[in-house]
């Protein structure tokens, strides 16, 4: 397992140590399928925490253990310092499950009322929060329609709203943008960032790495029930060594001008890209300035989260791409 920095502000909301869970283990079938194999992680208050991994990595199982939906695990798991499944801790959690199914016999408004009150919130408080939340997920006009009449995207948006209706301290979102159109995705992203700004801890399971990269400040990558790496986005997207230099105008003999400096020269619109060390970078700037070329920007290239993710998964299981 690759260990990256584990620092986070504030107190710990989620704490997991050597968590193991085996499915299908019975008296007759002793082996079973190991879904979690010794997971260690901590989520601090106010973090937006991304959980990444291919299908079957154990992400959803980890969440379900934390919420008391899955039993028979070993190790240590705490939510708000309490054992998983404890009503007091679950009261502070808003959860949007993957492929969730809301009661089809209720209207959107009734779903919000039901889940808000089931979470232990006062009926009047819930009622006061329903309007603004439905507005945020753009569901105000459909609030009085039955769930069975909703499209998948509408159900997803309402699912997100119900996860927030009791003003939770921790929001767990399992594939929150699944089935949602680009405009809806953008509004979900905004909502997550809004939660972050309000100090709410957000725990996101997602396949959409771009989104995770855009909104998460701490990420865990899992595969086959174990953590491959965890850390901040910066830590998980290291510099590649390549630098992108944008010029006001690009001379035709640019490659000759930089001859002997750096590796893997490549022209790109408005500039070029080159792998350089620090001394070589200074030399390149000097040569460009000597020629009187105006430098607009110098940007060090980083790995994308997707590249890091695929690299890690391939390393864990060579030849198999997620």
């Amino acid at each position: 397992m690759v260990e990256a920095s584990n620092s986070h502000p504030g107190d710990t909301i989620v704490s997991v140590k050597d968590l193991q869970k085996v499915f299908g283990k019975t008296l007759l079938k002793r082996k079973g399928f190991p879904a979690l194999r010794g997971i260690d992680l901590e989520v601090g208050r106010g973090q937006v925490f991304g959980l990444l991994g291919p299908n079957g990595a154990g992400k959803t199982t980890l969440v379900k253990v934390l919420l008391g939906l899955t039993k028979g695990w070993t190790g240590e798991a705490r939510l708000f310092g309490l054992p998983p499944g404890d009503a007091m801790s679950r009261q502070k959690v808003g959860y949007l499950p993957e492929a969730h199914r809301l009661p089809p016999y209720l209207t959107g408004h009734q779903v919000m009322q039901l889940f808000g009150r089931m979470a232990g919130a006062d009926a009047a408080d819930v009622e006061a929060r329903i309007g603004p939340l439905l507005e945020k997920v753009n569901m105000t006009t459909s609030a009085d329609r039955k769930i069975r009449e909703y499209s998948k995207g509408m159900q997803q948006r309402l699912g997100l709203a119900q996860a927030l209706v009791h003003d939770p301290e921790l929001v767990i979102l399992d594939e929150p943008t699944d089935g949602v159109d680009p405009v809806g995705r953008a509004s979900i992203r905004e909502m997550v960032l809004d939660l972050k700004a309000r100090g709410v801890t957000v725990f996101i399971n997602s396949h959409l790495l771009m989104e995770v990269e855009m909104i998460c400040d701490h990420v865990v990558i899992m595969d086959k029930g174990k953590i491959l790496v965890q850390g901040s986005i910066d830590e998980l997207t290291p510099k590649t060594g390549a630098v992108e230099i944008d010029l006001r105008e690009t001379p035709e003999d640019l490659e000759q001008l930089l001859g002997g400096l750096g590796r893997n020269f490549a022209l790109r619109g408005g500039g070029f890209q080159l792998e350089l060390n620090d001394e070589e970078q200074d030399a390149v700037v000097d040569r460009l300035r000597e020629r009187g070329l105006s430098i607009v920007a110098i940007t060090p290239r980083r790995l994308t989260l997707e590249q890091s993710f695929i690299g890690l998964i391939e390393k864990d299981e060579p030849g198999v791409r997620p």
Partner: protein, 507 residues
């Protein structure tokens, strides 16, 4: 779980029920069954429709070709018939099956992937959620049952003027019957997570428990009959021990089947008892049991003589004459009704060569009349005696009437004779003239005898025998409390097993 959460769960249950299409269909069916009770009025001598048209019972019976028995009130007979058909037939069997089918999905749907995650992540225990789903089903049936029974009761009360509070118990027993079956539905739904499996297995269990119940009753009946037969043999013959030994040799399989039947009967919910319990509850409220019941000979008086009350039990042993006295303690104490029963075997053994002549009503009545004639000759009677015969089905009822006392303080007197099975009955009536005139006395007499039925249950089948044995204070295996208790224990066991299973699920 606080009140807020409880209210939310109740609201959820209610919404789930109201949204159910089968529930709406059943509501329409309920309205269809209740509405006629508001539109058709059953009265003592006619039926009214929509408060406008009236039909006499004679018109109706002529049209239908079905005569109304002369000794019953047709309005009561029809209303009770309708109540029985609706509650025991339509609602008690078809309705319950419908409700089971309509509510069997409550638990499996809650356990579907996606739905379960959302629900069980809330700070409510799985047990509470399952129990609320169980109560959703009960709410479903409670609303329908009370709408049906309460609606019919109100309709009959307002339009026909017929009220029997005991009928309202039918709603409770419908809910009770459903509660037993629904607990099993919840168990199957929890274990299999399949609505189809829940419906099919519950229906199978419903039928199976009915079969087990009947089988057990037949077995008990057979054992009772056999025990009586053996007792008779033992009393008559010596060496009955040989008979027992022979029987015991072949009884291993029978014993096994008996134990199996007993185990199943005592374990499964006794759904078959629900109807009997309803009847008993109705009787407890209305006091509608017969005024007097000679269970040995199936001779029943439905009503007491008007204005009179029975001294002693309504199921007497006839060691002493059964006596009715005026209900009003200030009334003339000479008003009396006696009922005597004696065996028909002659008290004196017949002379050698003479055949045994059992007592018959006509002979005893004639002898009694002769005695009265002698009294009349001596001037001891004001009028009579006169003798009259009437048929009660195949049985003959002979009445001897006379008046005695003084002109200013005379008494109406009647003595009725009939024999049935091994018994001869005499009923003696005395009413002072001051209390009733001739016509009123005749009417009073008629009213009393209208409720008489003789030997209507000559062959008491096993189920009838069981119903007679079954009661609130019967021995434990025929005891209503035992039946209810063990059935509820089964329901509780099913729910506990469901909770046990649910708490071990990984979602």
């Amino acid at each position: 779980m606080n009140a807020n959460i409880l209210a939310a769960l109740f609201q959820d249950s209610l919404q789930q029920v109201l949204d159910n299409r089968v529930f709406r269909l059943l509501v329409i069916m309920t309205i269809c069954m209740v509405a006629p009770t508001f539109l058709i009025g059953f009265h003592q001598d006619h039926i009214s429709m929509l408060w406008m048209w009236e039909y006499s019972y004679s018109e109706l019976t002529a049209t239908l070709g079905v005569p109304v028995p002369p000794d019953v009130r047709p309005d009561e007979m029809l209303i009770k018939g309708i109540q029985t058909v609706v509650i025991e037939g339509i609602a008690g069997v078809a309705g319950i099956i419908f409700c089971i089918a309509a509510t069997a999905f409550f638990v499996p749907r809650m356990l579907e992937k996606g739905a379960a995650d959302t629900l069980f992540s809330k700070p409510i225990s799985r047990t509470a959620l399952l129990v609320m789903r169980y109560f959703s089903g009960l709410l479903f049936v409670t609303v329908l049952s009370f709408a049906l029974v309460g609606g019919m009761w109100t309709g009959f009360a307002l339009v026909s003027g017929y009220t029997d509070t005991g009928f309202l118990w039918s709603a409770v027993t419908l809910v009770y019957l459903y509660a037993l079956l629904h607990s099993f539905s919840v168990l199957v739904g929890t274990v299999t997570r399949s609505s189809v499996a829940a419906i099919l297995l519950v229906l199978m269990m419903f039928m199976f428990s009915g079969c087990v119940h009947r089988g057990w009753v037949f077995k008990e009946y057979a054992q009772e009959s056999y025990a009586l037969e053996v007792l008779r043999i033992e009393m008559r013959e010596e060496g009955s021990g040989e008979l027992r030994e022979e029987e015991e040799e072949d009884s291993t399989l029978l014993n096994f089947l008996t134990v199996l039947l007993d185990t199943l009967h005592y374990t499964l919910p006794k759904t078959g008892d629900a109807t009997t319990i309803t009847g008993m509850l109705r009787e407890a409220v209305e006091g509608t049991g017969p005024a007097l019941n000679d269970t040995e000979a199936s001779v029943v008086f439905e009503d007491h003589p008007e204005g009179m009350t029975l001294i002693g039990s309504s199921t007497p042993d006839f060691d002493e004459p059964v006596t009715w006295v005026p209900r009003d303690p200030d009334a003339d104490a000479r008003q009396r009704v006696f009922l005597k029963r004696r065996g028909r075997e002659p008290e004196e053994a017949p002379a050698p060569g003479e055949r045994v002549r059992r007592l018959v009503a006509s002979r005893v009545a004639s002898a009694f009349e002769d005695g009265l004639d002698e009294r009349a000759d001596r001037g001891e009677l004001l009028s009579g005696p006169s003798k009259e015969r009437a048929m009660f089905g195949p049985n003959q009822l002979i009445a001897v009437r006379w008046e005695e006392g003084s002109e200013s303080d005379g008494l109406h007197r009647s003595r009725f004779f009939f024999h049935f099975s091994e018994w001869l009955y005499e009923i003696d009536l005395t009413v002072p003239h001051a209390m009733m005139g001739d016509e009123a006395y005749e009417e009073w007499e008629d009213d009393f005898f209208r409720g008489l039925s003789i030997g209507t249950e000559q062959f008491r089948g096993p189920m009838q025998w069981y119903e007679d044995e079954f009661g609130w204070d019967a021995p434990w295996k025929f005891n209503a409390f035992f039946s209810i208790g063990t059935s509820l224990a089964f329901a509780l066991f099913c729910l506990l097993l469901s909770i046990f299973r649910l708490n071990r699920y990984d979602f």
